[in-house]
Amino acid sequence: MAGTTQLTAVDVEEFGRALDRLREEILASLGEGDARYIRRVITVQRSLEAGGRAVMFASLLPPAWLAGTAMLATAKILENMEIGHNVLHGQWDWMRDPEIHSTVWEWDSGSSAEQWKHSHNYVHHTYTNVLGKDRDIGYSALRVHPEQPWHPLYLAQPLYNLMLAVVFEWGIAIYDSELERAWRGEKNWAETLTQLSTALRKGGRQVLKDYVAFPLLAGPAFLPVLFGNLTANTIRNVWAHMIIFCGHFPEGAEVFTEEQIEGETRGEWYLRQMLGSANIEGSALFHILTGNLSFQIEHHLFPDLPSNRYAQIAPEVRALCARFGIPYNTGSLPRQTSSVWKRILRLALPGPARWPVDLGDDRAHRSEHAHAHRIPAESVV
């Protein structure tokens, strides 16, 4: 397989132009159907949440507890994944709806919308998979690429990845305040602490709602409701963690160096997004529950296109990849998840400095080639 395709700089730019055209086509066709879609998802989500909490009040009957908890967990998953994440990306800003707009939206998550938009929309989506720039590579806590130098702390990473899954929203909220950057002196403490306290205040309101207000309202069902809310939040956390980890960390997803992205062209930017992301296959309902992050590749190419369109453009992106010989990383949820976990287990131990070429197929070569004409002069000499 190695060496079957050589991407020239001209190819990369042609690839980029084809993607630009695809984006223009979608933008021009946005309309009533898309608006109806997001409004319906929001209505379903709010009804599920209100319904789930109401049913849970009858929790002294075990089936009611189960049904209520399942409804609430589903609502919370929809709220974070298909609604919150995507609205905050500005995917629905074109509707000019003052109630569904990235500048006014707030979500049911530990991190505030403002901080999230900076750490996710800006840092992660601009510097995707660039070592030392994209803080989402292992969330500054895990070693998910061999290029990250090993440290004895990583020995425990399988364990704390499990713990992270359970408390994911809080992990992200703390992570968004960039404590490690303040620790290294790259960011001042005052700002970091202000952000942390914003997150705590916001988180506090949610804790109050899920673990005090609703249980109290339930009266005799105080404990079942509290436990139901905790279960729903945990299910949502584990689900979000699983889907998000499948987006950038399965086998085949590549990382880049800061030198590689210096003076990057639009085509090269697209290529990096492509090579650094992985999709998950599944049914239409599965895609909605992942917030269409199962189309991580399409999302990273076009973060501000409405999520309901990713399924439509995926075959075209895939065909483009085939035409240019660019790998399109996709697989079932079990396959991508086990690939992520294999990595987390392997990289807990020291070495390797990079994947052996025969295991990692020829992707490294291709992307190096794609960025070859950007290699600084001294390294060519």
């Binding site: 009533e32 608006a35 000019r96 109630e99």
Partner: protein, 354 residues
């Protein structure tokens, strides 16, 4: 009062990060207090290209004064479009509804939708009625209305209000429209003129008698025009003529005008790059494009109001660069100036705090 606030806060702690309104709106969109909404109850064609839309406003609606306008937001093919429309129904909200009357504008986006496509049951967004095109509290003895086309709508609300109170002072209404059939509310106006001797109606049919009414003709139709309290509403040309005439007579304060389209004097300059700092959007804009429109097409949530440089709802802080006032062509602007985005275009590269 305090109890109310406590209850609201308690309810909000159950719905955070959303508001109780967001859930009430699921049951009936009109229950939302946070954002005013209305439901289209009925549609009535008026002429070949104009229709009346009867709207039932939701909770918290403030009564309009005859002559005022309402900003209406309508979802057209997934995108919310906002325009001001004069209320044409009389004050007092008979049947709990109010009406706007819309005429199709050439190249309009919202007016054709409202006249031809919207259906009863549709939910629209509303803002409270506003505007100074109203009767003074103490009714003048003699009044003059100079209108053309859909400019009759606010005046219709005023006349209907007067008729309902069975109190018609000495009123002259000079109205221009292309033909007799194209007169919006034609039948009703003629009926009112028959019923109230105090109301004199002069219809001017511009297609049968060449051209628009001039101010010289107005003096023939209504010799005591200068002594009357006057209101004018219609196309920019008519308003400009009227304003000039009243100004020349030194009685500009006796004329009130209502305009829904900005008077643009400037052809615009070179344009430049516009950065919306808070939304993080950046676009190239022409020197004659209102910043409001530039922002809206870039997906920025732009505050807006009359879109004609009157109400100042669209004001935003200028962070850097200079803008051109599209009404005068004058270039202005300093850091921290507040600019009206609906009548300002960029003059070079600028940054706005939106």
């Amino acid at each position: 009062m305090a109890v109310g606030r406590f209850l609201r806060e308690a309810a909000t702690s159950l719905t955070t990060p959303l508001l109780p309104d967001d859930y009430l709106g699921l049951i009936d969109p009109l229950w939302s207090h946070r954002r005013l909404r209305g439901r289209v109850e009925a549609l009535r064609p008026e002429t070949a290209d104009a229709a009346t839309i009867v709207i039932r406003p939701g909770a918290g609606w403030k009564e309009h004064r005859a002559g005022q306008y309402v900003r209406v937001g309508v979802d057209v093919d997934g995108v919310w479009q906002w325009r001001p429309y004069s209320v044409s129904s009389p004050p007092g909200r008979p049947g709990g509804t109010f009406s706007i009357t819309v005429k199709i504008l050439v190249n309009g986006r919202l007016s054709p939708y409202l006249v031809e496509r919207i259906r009863p049951g549709a939910i629209v967004r509303l803002e409270h009625p506003q505007g100074q095109f109203v009767l003074p509290r103490a009714l003048p003895e003699r009044l003059l209305f100079v209108t053309a086309g859909s400019g009759i709508t606010p005046v219709m609300s005023i006349l209907r209000g007067l008729a309902l109170g069975d109190e018609m002072p000495d009123v002259v209404l000079v109205h221009s429209a292309p033909t007799r059939d194209a007169v919006i509310f034609g039948e009703e106006l003629r009926e009112l003129a028959r019923r109230f001797p105090g109301l004199r109606l002069h219809e001017r049919h511009t297609r049968t008698r060449a051209g628009r009414l001039t101010m010289t003709e107005l003096a023939t139709v209504c010799p005591d025009w200068a002594e009357r309290a006057a209101w004018a509403c219609g196309p920019p040309g008519l308003l400009a003529d009227a304003e000039a005439r009243w100004r020349r007579a030194g009685i500009a304060d006796r004329l009130r005008v209502e305009r829904f389209r900005p008077v643009t004097a400037s052809e615009g300059g070179a344009g430049g790059r516009v950065r919306f700092a808070r939304s993080g959007r950046e676009v190239d804009a022409d020197g004659d494009a209102p910043l409001l429109v530039v922002g809206e097409s870039a997906g920025v949530l732009m505050p807006s109001g009359c879109r004609t440089g009157v109400c100042r709802s669209c004001v935003a802080r200028l962070l850097s660069g200079r803008v051109r006032d599209l009404r005068t062509g004058r270039e202005h602007g300093d850091t921290d100036d507040h600019i009206q985005t609906c009548v300002s275009a960029t003059a070079g590269d600028i940054e706005i705090d939106l």
